[in-house]
């Protein structure tokens, strides 16, 4: 069975795209969240193997969500999805516990490389 993934992004477009890339590679998307708070809650419920996390989301941003998630589970594998020019935010996210990041616009191969690295 493939690894389970929780996809967090406030844009349906992005969620769909990430889910498609991952599903095509054999991963199982078991949940989606559109806010940071939802992400934290769903992480607790679903215990996914991997989380993809947008940085800027309403109602608790991605960085705070990472912090919350990693507080519960320091080994949580969170992959940040960032836009160009968000270096400072990504650095902060890594310090908060994110394990890797990908930069939008996504190239499927890059996303999958990062996912494989994180799931190691």
């Amino acid at each position: 069975m493939g690894h389970t993934v929780l996809v967090c992004d406030d844009a349906i477009f992005m969620r769909t795209m990430i889910a498609d890339i991952l599903a095509a590679a054999g991963y199982e998307v078991i949940g989606e969240a559109e806010t940071g708070a939802q992400a934290v809650q769903k992480y607790r419920e679903l215990k996914p193997d991997l989380v993809t996390m947008d940085i800027v989301m309403p109602d608790m941003g991605g960085i705070d969500a990472v912090r919350e998630i990693c507080k519960d589970d320091p080994d949580a594998k969170v992959l940040m999805c960032s836009a160009m020019g968000q270096q400072a935010l990504v650095v902060e996210a890594i310090q908060a516990g994110a394990k890797d990041f990908v930069v939008k616009p996504f190239q499927p191969s890059r996303v999958l490389e990062a996912v494989q690295r994180v799931l190691g």
Partner: protein, 638 residues
């Protein structure tokens, strides 16, 4: 590992951290929006926790951990900081300070610490509620405690491992691919990977620089790890987008840091011992030089000179090593002032200047308490409550200035407030009642005022507060500073404020002095306070009030005939005699002696004046010929 030998280091380093905690807390309290103090506090408390855990001082580590949790909650934006949090943190720092001292004597925290731990936990728990709506308080609590204990255990283990780390150090240089996106973030990932392998240090550029868009993709650091270089290489490359990794076994740490100032910590007792030996060496040298002078052997003379120079160098090196910036003492005051101002309902802005001025460690230690007295007095009696200040047309916030400046061979430390000034009429009335001044006196000059205030037990405070006003203030200050061979000065203006100046010698141990003769006795006068020497009969004699005085540089200075003052028999009482002009601050007097015997460097010996001995002496010494002599207290003579 024998932990006992690290105890001293633990204490001194912990104190440094806690000192900085106080500073940071004050800065933070002034500007609750600032993030730098919070981060600094977090790091300091975290370091302390690690050290305490390594030393096995579990309750101390636990308390630090709770404080760290609170800081972390604020830092993470989960908790908006409130005044009560500052109070909690200040209390924590105090408790930690106390705990550090107790821990080394094998004691745990004071019982009061338990309530503090509870309060800290409660503050943190509030911050967690909104983030965990699903979790009830009841279910959340045991989970939280268990988790923090587990975290603490983990941190403890890591610190323990680092302390006895004998793994090799590797210097690592990595380059992030030039086409990689967000290269700084990528470099940070590589760093995180390395951190999983061991203890990482010397990261260049700093992590904060990785956030910059112009980061050039090159990162260097050192990692202490048991992993083989090939393994380190593989782990770092697993961060992705890494173009190259260069790993070298670290060369000797010290040669790497050759440009940095190398420092070691020395127990102060060692320096004291060294100082004492240097002092004895000076006395021995003085005798040798005297002997050589009486000898006809030219080689002995040359050797004497050579040894003389060498001893001089040893002495100045030791003195240099003992110099400590006054900041070490000044740094306590922001906290002291804050607490006092709060307790007494005052608004006080503290201004500190001259923290870089250096003093002998021993002098500095002696000055600390008197300064605390003066600062307390200034806030308690000097600076008025805000309402009174506004009524008097002054800003509600009082100003307290603490400054140090170098003056020849002494350092002047000033404590000045812009408060109400000393109430001279009240002091005058009380002084008259106690018979300290003439009943007809109408005014007290600053020096009279100081003399009266420094009488043991003299206080006019109507109410004895917990802060000052017990009548142990100025007299304690005066006694301590005099014992150092220093002097105290006072300037007070009604409504404008009060300033105390403490003049202390740079060092205690070795004093350049003038040796004088009166009758058959010899006395020592520290050169610090001798502004010039003149001849008695060549100078016009006049009167200053009812005292004999000499006109020196167009100003009268009262004479002090040492033979009379010290009841010395057989002294010259007439004719041409040398006079030392002794000056302390603005005050001068003309000291009439029989003969000047020359300069000598003397080593001040501890001196317990016998009861009933007049207070003209500040210490004793052994002269070059081995005979003892008393050191005159310049401040008492002017």
């Amino acid at each position: 590992m024998d932990l006992a030998k690290y105890a001293a280091l633990f204490v001194s380093e912990s104190r440094e951290h806690l000192q900085s905690c106080n500073q940071l807390l004050l800065a933070w309290e002034r500007d609750p929006e600032a993030t730098a103090p919070v981060d600094g506090l977090f790091r300091a408390v975290h370091s302390l926790k690690g050290m305490a855990a390594t030393m096995g001082f579990t309750p101390l580590a636990e308390l630090a951990h709770r404080a760290e949790n609170l800081l972390d909650a604020v830092r993470g934006g989960k908790l908006a900081v409130k005044p009560e949090h500052f109070e909690l943190l200040f209390r924590s720092v105090d408790e930690l300070e106390d705990g550090v001292a107790r821990a080394t004597t094998g004691k745990g925290l004071r019982p009061e610490a338990a309530s503090l731990v509870k309060a800290l936990d409660a503050a943190v728990r509030i911050s967690e509620k909104p983030a965990e709506p699903a979790r009830s308080g009841k279910a959340g609590k045991p989970g939280k405690t268990g988790e923090s204990a587990a975290k603490l255990e983990k941190a403890e283990k890591a610190e323990k491992a680092a302390a006895k780390d004998e793994r090799p150090s590797l210097d690592v240089k990595i380059t992030v691919r030039s086409d990689a996106l967000l290269r700084g973030a990528r470099a940070l990932l590589a760093l995180r990977k390395a951190e999983a392998l061991g203890v990482v240090s010397r990261v260049t550029p700093q992590v904060s620089e990785l956030e910059r868009e112009d980061f050039d993709g090159k990162l260097a650091f050192r990692v202490k790890t048991a992993a083989a270089p090939s393994e380190v290489d593989a782990v770092i490359r697993s961060a992705g987008d890494i173009a190259g990794v260069a790993i070298d076994l670290a060369s000797d740490e010290q040669t790497v840091d050759a440009t940095a100032l190398r420092q070691i910590r020395i127990d102060l007792a060692r320096l004291d011992a060294l100082m004492k030996l240097a002092g004895e060496l000076v006395v021995a040298r003085n005798r040798l030089v005297e002997l050589a002078r009486g000898s006809t052997d030219p080689e002995l003379g040359q050797l004497g000179e050579r040894i003389s120079r060498l001893v001089g160098s040893v002495q100045s090196e030791v003195l240099e090593a003992r110099l400590t910036p006054v900041r070490e003492v000044f740094d306590r005051f922001p906290r002291v002032v804050r607490d006092l101002a709060r307790d007494l309902g005052r608004q006080v802005r503290l201004e500190v200047e001259g923290g870089d001025i250096e003093l002998d460690r021993a002098v500095l230690d002696e000055v600390a308490d008197p300064l605390v007295h003066l600062v307390r007095n200034a806030i308690d009696h000097g600076i008025e409550p805000p309402r009174d200040r506004v009524k008097a047309g002054k800003p509600a916030e009082g100003r307290l200035r603490l400054s140090a400046s170098r003056e020849r061979n002494s350092v002047a430390i000033r404590v000045a407030d812009d408060g109400r000034g000393i109430d001279r009429s009240k002091i005058l009335a009380k002084a008259k009642a106690e018979g300290l001044v003439d009943a007809a006196a109408e005014f007290l000059a600053d020096d009279q005022l100081l003399r009266i205030l420094s009488r043991s037990g003299f206080s006019t405070a109507a109410v004895i507060s917990g802060v000052s006003g017990r009548g142990v203030g100025v007299d304690v200050v005066m006694t301590r500073i005099r014992q150092l061979g220093g002097a105290v000065e006072l300037v007070s203006e009604p409504g404008q404020g009060t300033a105390f100046v403490l003049r202390v010698p740079l060092t205690l141990a070795i004093v350049r002095s003038l040796l004088v003769q009166v009758g058959s006795e010899r006395y020592v006068v520290p050169l610090n306070y001798v502004s010039e020497t003149i001849e008695f009969s060549a100078t016009p004699v006049t009167a200053l009030g009812d005292r004999e005085a000499l006109v020196i540089r167009e100003q009268p200075a009262p004479t002090v005939h040492l033979y009379r003052l010290l009841s010395v028999e057989g002294a010259a009482t007439t004719g041409r005699r040398p006079v030392l002009v002794v000056q302390v601050g603005e005050r001068r007097s003309a000291l009439v002696v029989d003969a000047l015997l020359g300069q000598q460097e003397i080593v001040v010996e501890p001196f317990d004046a016998p009861r009933g001995m007049p207070g003209w002496f500040s210490g004793a010494t052994i002269l070059a010929d081995g005979a003892p002599a008393l050191i005159l207290d310049a401040a008492a003579l002017v």
